[in-house]
Symmetry: C2
Subunit: 537 residues, 2 copies
């Protein structure tokens, strides 16, 4: 994803490294003991139609450069690209491509396969959007095959045009079906890249978590993966049905002047016109419902059974036994980093200042919240109590509980609580865990603490790698860690001193929620995007 100081000369010759796929030969790059194959086309698709298998080719095709990333409705510079280093890339709706990092291209190695599903809700992002998504270090250190996938998003991935005729019955699912197609590609081709198609783990953060939970509720994806790891990937509380999705399609068609008769033109109009129409539909959606439109596939209880985070939705029998890791981050969207650049290390504030701010944020609950925070995180300064996320943490707790109650497979819960070094000291934010999950925190200015990051990323990446190898995240670098049960809620707290705690933040979360300080939508200091330039409209 980004250049790294090389140890060896990189090799990408016509004859090495070359692998045979179902569709033809691919030439990648070998460098510093890692094989890298970028921009592999796993499907082709017409706009608003299901993905199909790619065409076969003669000879050797280059897989040395990334493929285009999904078209977005708008592309902005994050409020602080310093705390979240990004890798933007040219966009296209023809973005069905994936990347592979692997220590071996021996068919008999059968290494665990970790498929990264990116975040950005189901609206934004790409397989390479955030620099931390680079799989090289994780593949080498963990001796695993890392795959990252691009697939259609937003209006291109989820616009439900089924009310416009049989031909479009699947248009609300094509974004998810791209993902399914990519997993079929993994099943059929990953052995050539040293991977084991019978041991595939999905891991994803934020929107990547939603998408994993949705895949678990889509019968067509059954059997294509064997375990899942969901990071800060909850908090979704609405889902489309064909009924409540129809008005969105109507608004867009209306804006474009299209009718049932002329709707086919929507497949060929320039993308920026479609994006403009989508912005119109966003505004109308807020007028109608009071809420922001969140793209999802429509629930029909055939193709898709709904996101299990939503009241009343059950895990499917076919997938409920899938082992799960689930974790979130202490600060998430409320992290102090979003204003520490002005105020510096919050642990240097006076007691008076902290108490005043706690009162302002939590009102009558301030004292109880501070007391509970001290019990939950005894080593942290009181000011950190201002930046406790419950927007992600609470649904994660509910997800783990629900799985225990519904007799699902094993679920392990974690939280990333380590103070980040930037701006003198900041609670970790939404995305801060990825540099550690991918085992390369030493590449990130805002997150690297010499002598500390090395150990913590061994613990966190080691957890995912152990899970990938054994279906159990326990490894010798960490204390023993048990699953969530009806009467036991252990959480691995990843910090300067990582340890397992039991129900350690239950009361804290409930109090913060009572105080109405949920973060986004709540009273707390929330993360705002810079509203930078838009690539399209």
């Amino acid at each position: 994803m980004y250049p790294k100081r090389l140890i060896h000369q990189a090799i990408s010759n016509p004859d090495f490294p070359v692998v045979e796929t179902k569709y033809g030969k691919l030439r990648g790059t070998w460098t510093d003991d890692c094989f890298i194959f970028r921009g592999i086309e796993y499907a082709k698709a017409r706009r608003f139609h299901l993905p199909e298998e790619p065409d076969c080719w003669e000879g050797v095709k280059a897989a040395v450069a990334y493929g285009p990333v999904p078209d977005e409705i708008s592309t902005r510079i994050p409020g602080d690209a310093f705390t979240e280093p990004h890798y933007w890339y040219p966009q296209s709706e023809f973005c069905q491509n994936l990347n592979v990092w692997t220590p071996s291209i021996d068919r008999d190695r059968k290494l665990p396969v970790m498929v990264w599903i990116h975040g950005g809700g189901q609206e934004h992002g790409s397989a390479i959007e955030i620099s931390a998504y680079d799989g090289e270090e994780l593949a080498k250190w963990g001796n695993v095959v890392v795959v990252s996938v691009n697939h259609r998003l937003n209006v291109l991935g989820y616009l439900d045009l089924s009310s416009y005729g049989e031909e479009y019955q699947d248009s609300g699912y094509v974004g998810m079906m791209d993902l399914v197609q990519s997993l079929k590609w993994v099943r059929e081709n990953i052995r050539s890249f040293g991977g084991d198609p019978e041991n595939v783990m999905l891991f994803g953060q934020s929107g990547g978590g939603f998408k994993i939970l949705e895949l678990m509720q889509m019968p067509t994806a059954d059997g294509l993966y064997h375990k899942v790891s969901i990071h800060s990937g909850t908090g979704k509380d609405t889902c489309f049905t064909h009924e409540n999705a129809a008005p969105v399609a109507r608004d867009i068609a209306e804006y474009l002047g299209l009718t049932k008769e002329s709707i086919r033109e929507i497949e060929t109009i320039p993308y920026y016109q479609l994006a403009k129409a989508t912005n119109y539909a966003y505004d109308r959606f807020i007028e109608r419902t009071g809420a922001r439109l969140q793209w999802t596939p429509p629930v029909d209880n055939e193709k898709f059974f709904g996101n299990p985070q939503i009241e009343g939705v059950q895990f499917r029998e076919e997938t409920k036994q899938i082992p799960m890791l689930a974790g979130s981050v202490l600060g998430e969207f409320t992290s102090s980093c979003h204003h520490n650049d002005q105020i510096g290390d919050i642990d240097t504030w006076s007691q008076e200042t902290v108490e005043a701010l706690l009162k302002e944020r939590y009102g009558v609950y301030a004292d109880d919240i501070l007391e509970q925070f001290r019990k939950a995180y005894p080593d942290k300064g009181a000011a950190n109590a201002l930046y406790v996320d419950v927007f992600m943490r609470k649904p994660h707790r509910n997800l783990c509980r629900m799985r225990a109650d519904q007799g699902c497979g094993p679920t392990w819960n974690w939280i990333f609580a380590m103070d980040m070094p930037c701006y003198g000291g900041s609670t970790p934010w939404h995305n801060a865990d990825e540099a550690y999950i991918f085992h390369h925190a030493e590449y990130f200015e805002s997150e690297y603490i010499p002598g500390v990051s090395e150990r913590v990323q061994d613990e966190m990446a080691g957890t995912l790698v152990a899970f990938a190898y054994t279906n159990n995240p326990n490894h010798t670098g960490l204390p023993q860690w048990e699953t969530v049960t009806k009467d036991r809620f252990p959480t691995m707290v990843f910090d300067r001193k990582s340890e397992v705690r039991y129900n350690h933040d239950e009361k804290l979360i409930d109090l913060v929620e009572k105080a109405g300080a949920l973060g986004p939508g709540g009273k707390g200091p929330v993360r705002t995007y810079g509203g930078g330039p838009r690539a399209h409209v």
Copy 2:
């Protein structure tokens, strides 16, 4: 520009590193002995109007994330992002920002300042477009202040609307005037970043070279820089005048349905409509002239005296004494790398194959060209004679000669001829020199040769740094190197064994040109872009 494995913890606190500029305080980042300030706004501007000084601000403003890059008409994935690693970024027409890398923020250090002006003709690119543009390694290794600048391009930077009224008399110059404004910012502020405003060097490649030559022909830029280094930055053979630029404005206005009366709307229409109109104007231009439109400021012999590469244009008295470095690359657009990915190392071809290809490419001149190539590059295999650029090299030779003939200041000439490791072995291509100029070839998969790159980048970056310090590129790491005179044409050939050669490729260039194998437009294997996704239209 891209994450690097860090040695120290990066620091970006409210109080350090903070510098005072004319407009207010800026907070950057300190990491691994380099201070980095990203996305500094040096001007603000209305569309099609001259840049103005930015507003002042209170408190400390963050300069930790890059600013938006210039809007392009289309953004594509290069044919091979492997040989040319890119760093794309969100675009905006409000892109008047620059980046600073410096080893010191002591006002009294007064280090030489090297201002990088990016390529992409005057149509494409940005200050951070190519990963090699990152200034950190050069600033630290060379002990210099490196600045890179974003400025308006294409229709936004050069559309000459002067025929639509007094208000738009400058619109054809605003892209260049952004650059001038950035150099004024350097003059007034760079001391706070450890730089010497009295010792400013401009260096740029490809379109960056055009832009430097154009600045030398614009009186308003006089005194803002003290030496120039032009890399593969020639070959431009047309220039606009108000007369021949007018039809372009007319085509765009016509497409947008704008008249003299309504032309002001062109300042507020959505950018993608303007981009669409521009594509229309591109097609019309080709119909009218048979040539591709190349944006330039219009020659009026007041604001701009024309590109001195063009027949009959003289260097201005005010700038002709400016010392100049001028160099190009052996392969440029004809480099073998553009098909070596299929054929591998050309030095493994049989003599028969090589001779057949030479005949095919050079016809009756094949034998003479091979003989001259062997004289010019005795250590290189015959197949390399197929990939000799003259499209850049010849105008560079002419530029150096013209300066000698016109009694201009000293001019040193170089060529980068080192075989690149990718695809088994490739002649160096257009852009291949930048990883060496910026002293970080070890970050580039396609260019790094352990044990060799380290020395060659010391030689090349050392040449620019010596020139920045002393106005003379000679340094102890290289053989003695003289300027071009009327009767002497020395060229520093940067290669595994760098040496000064005299008129070494004169006959070769003339023969290749006679054979009509100019590269682009010629018969030779030329570099083609992948025609990847477009960000706008």
